[in-house]
Symmetry: C2
């Protein structure tokens, strides 16, 4: 890969160094984890092959998957009444699979729509049965989360679906409501970023590629008593019960292997209480800078802002492409807002170090001095 031209370049120019990566997902992973993966190629732990090349029924792989499962349970405080499943297809598949399991043909489910992903979720549920909008902030461009007290809940709902963090719109629901019906939650972009009160939840799902690992594995947490309420019969692969009972088919081995390492990293760091404190500091630092004056403007009202996906605009929106490009030159990558909403989005997941947020804030100050 090296060329003679590179010999005179700095590491940054040669591209051999890591930048601060604000990608919304797939997203930055702890460098320690990547270096361990590197070390374990092409032979994993004395087994004669890499982790990708051994049977998913082998003792070596089994230990990895069971460790990932146990660590997730410990981190989240999940008791024996919870199953931890490693599925595929991302949250997009869960949008269909969850109602397929839990929305009976003659029943109804309530959906709280706080952004783009919730909109997608209800669309798939409506292919299965009756899915009602119990609350929505669409009229406010999803810059807020409707208060729980205002949700128009059906007392007979099979479940209430929420999106605890809306990655595109930049809002987050951290109060873990406890309602009459079990919560089914898309927690893709916030799972493992904070301790959760699990009392009200029946099912929590998350594409891993934000805080938990690489793309290609979907974390599904399901409480056993809720699992038992699912409709029957179901296609084997779409039945959560299949995967709760045993390792049914070949799992996405490599992504799960990385998830195990990320969980270990998180435990070494002190678990979710410690991580939450760091995440709150990072978010406060960035939002404080945004709110300091009118040069930058947050898109979500303060009480509903996401700790993970910090969405903002420049007072002069024409400067946004310049901001994104100059940031890249300063080693701050992937700050462009989602194509459907524009603006700036800094995703500051668990693996984004505080130094990265400080570097972004310093750049924002510089940029304001240049262009303010």
């Amino acid at each position: 890969m090296s060329t003679s031209a590179e010999a005179t370049q700095t590491p940054a120019q040669a591209g051999t160094e890591r930048l601060y990566n604000f990608s919304a997902g797939p997203a930055t992973l702890p460098e320690e984890v990547l270096l361990e993966v590197k070390e374990e190629l092409p032979v994993y732990d004395h087994v004669g092959a890499s982790i990708m090349e051994i049977s998913h029924r082998s003792a070596a792989y089994d230990a990895v998957e069971e460790s990932a499962r146990a660590r997730l349970k410990t981190l989240l405080g999940l008791g024996d009444d919870w199953h931890v499943l490693f599925l595929q297809g991302g949250a997009s598949m869960q949008f269909y699979q969850a109602p397929l399991n839990f929305l009976p043909p003659d029943g109804s489910a309530d959906y709280v729509i706080t952004g783009r992903w919730g909109q997608k979720a209800i669309k798939e549920a409506q292919l299965v049965g009756t899915a009602r909008v119990a609350a929505s902030s669409e009229d406010d461009d999803f810059n807020a989360i409707p208060a729980v007290e205002t949700w128009d809940l059906d007392p007979d709902a099979a479940f209430v679906h929420i999106t605890t963090n809306e990655t595109v719109n930049g809002n987050q629901m951290t109060d873990d409501p406890v309602l009459d019906a079990p919560l089914v939650a898309d927690a893709s972009s916030e799972l493992l970023s904070r301790p959760m009160n699990l009392e009200g939840y029946g099912l929590i799902y998350a594409g891993a590629q934000k805080n938990v690992g690489p793309a290609g594995v979907t974390i599904v947490l399901v409480r056993d008593d809720f699992l038992q309420t699912r409709t029957q019969p179901l296609p084997t692969m779409l039945d959560y019960g299949t995967h709760a009972a045993k390792r049914y088919n070949t799992p996405p081995v490599f992504p799960i292997y990385v998830v195990e390492k990320v969980c270990r990293w998180l435990q070494d760091l002190g678990g979710l209480d410690a991580m939450y404190a760091i995440n709150q500091r990072k978010a406060a630092l960035l939002y404080d800078r945004i709110d300091r004056n009118a040069f930058y403007r947050g898109t979500v009202r303060p009480e509903d802002r996401s700790m993970m996906n910090v969405t903002f605009r420049l007072h002069d929106e024409d400067l946004e492409p310049v901001f994104i490009e100059q940031a890249k030159q300063h080693g701050l990558m992937s700050l462009k807002g989602h194509r459907s909403v524009g603006g700036i989005r800094a995703s500051i997941y668990n693996a984004m170090p505080e130094d990265g947020v400080e570097a972004l804030v310093a750049f924002m100050d510089d940029f304001e001095r240049q262009h303010g």
Copy 2:
């Protein structure tokens, strides 16, 4: 990872070297591919992050996925009328997804059952609609493939489902039949092992973890005119049309990245004609050894034997655990037959070098001398 005890061990004892890996899947990958992956951690091609950490809409990732797609098309000789999709959930998900798309509520599909995977496939189809057994070798313990002329085909079948290679039972169908109805084929354990005559196929699917890459991505090839016959409406993620139209959601980035490298390795080696010649030599070498005398016994009749999964028994079946254990000590790993059938299975996919098969044959000779 290193301990003082290891200092006096040979590399083989210390477990730092790669063994010949006969795992049925996840299976051995070309060592060159693994070393490239290693080199590209923790920074991929000057982008400031690893391939796992960048947006699936970025130019860098897009180039990888499009290269994988183009290489698969070139290798298999797929024209513009074919779509190459990278899905998730393995063949097990395809067992349901294929009939969901192509078996109309008032229609019927024909299934040819030549092993364990075909049995699983028809079970899922029967949840969707009418799926008939057009032929089966179950009464012969799947040690043969019924001749095409004997298949009891329905002239109105929406499709005919075949399993071109049965991984557990060790048989393979290499004649690519052309029937009145389009073929839907599970080619999981043989895709890319030989050139195919695509004329009769409408849909071909394969879990990658045999010849194509690591677990976590499913290769789906669908011909456009067949795609247009699918039923509507379908859940978004289960509709092949969703994925044929665009990159809908986050794909399994890392597995696809490895698939791209495996395809490049295969092209460098000379493509599928060259690979097929090597695979035929490897299989002939092993089957010749099995057939030499009665000490070993192939489980499938010669004309239907798999080039990929070589299943055999020892004359004295009680010696099989000893054979498997001693082979491991000789650097030949994962030779145990599938738990449902027992015996020995040597999976000799594309990435198994001829040296590995020669080493296995030499070990089989030694073992016979010891125990014959």
